[in-house]
Symmetry: C2
Subunit: 133 residues, 2 copies
DNA sequence: GACAGATATCGATGGATGTCAATGCGCAGG
DNA sequence: CCTGCGCATTGACATCCATCGATATCTGTC
């Protein structure tokens, strides 16, 4: 499981709002101030990267879109192969990546496998981008 | 330029809320309902993928974090090489990718190049994930 | 104008990734 | 039990990508 991010940690975004009158280019030869705040750890960056990589593929983006746009917010593989114009193994591969990233949930009912969105996953990822604004 | 997404189009997310009593596995032999809503186009998926790929790298995530956590919301290359433990050409390469994706803004002042967040970029990307909820 | 420092670009290389064909596995029906 | 169907897994292949060393470009200085 990928823990689906954990709000409250160092994130990104500040959406442009420079309070300091940019005193950059100090006279001591340095170009700008060291940093100030701790920013994001390498571990957290690695974990978030795994989730962002999962949706950073056009076909996987469409998969998630198809599922979320589906009637019962779920879909089986057979309904996803045609609109993406991909082979069944490839779709299954992409779905596995999304499941491993904690974005999709897989439930097998009889012969079919139904994929649905994990409730807070995408919102949590979106929170990382808007965090600390 | 990458257009920075355009809210109002088909996005993702629905955050789990199955109103229909999942009448799946219809008796006609099909597994589930065809789809219902148009979902996301291939073109839009490709465009969004470019932006998500840009931040789907641990080092680039840290770069954005470092810049947004910086004092004046901007930083030059020399301040970004150490915390990432990467060579200067590599950092410059990552920054170029973020600029090309429309996430960072580059401004050269004298000898130094200052990178800052493009105001609405991350929020726009986040909106894609929470859209249509 | 020559020089030094900061940054960008180029070429090469090892590793990650998307795609497919072939195959295996589990479930339902006869 | 055997067959058909939906899906997952494997192996192979081509491509992309992150990283580095070397080098080019630009800017301010002496």
């Amino acid at each position: 499981m990928t823990t689906i991010s954990e709000p409250g940690t160092a994130g990104l975004a500040a959406t442009a709002s420079a309070p300091a009158p940019l005193d950059s280019a100090t006279d001591d030869g340095s170009c700008c101030v060291p940093s100030g705040t701790p920013a994001m750890s390498a571990d957290r960056a690695e974990a978030l990267s795994r989730q962002f990589k999962a949706i950073a593929d056009p076909n996987r983006l469409r998969l998630v879109s198809l599922i979320s746009a589906s009637a019962a917010n779920e879909a089986c593989v057979c309904d996803l192969t045609e609109p993406l114009d991909l082979g069944q193994p490839t779709v299954s591969h992409h779905l596995k990546i999304l499941v491993d990233a904690g974005i999709l949930h897989r439930e097998k009912r009889g012969v079919w496998a139904y994929y649905s969105l994990v409730p807070g996953a995408l919102n949590s990822l979106a929170g990382v981008l808007t965090e600390a604004r």
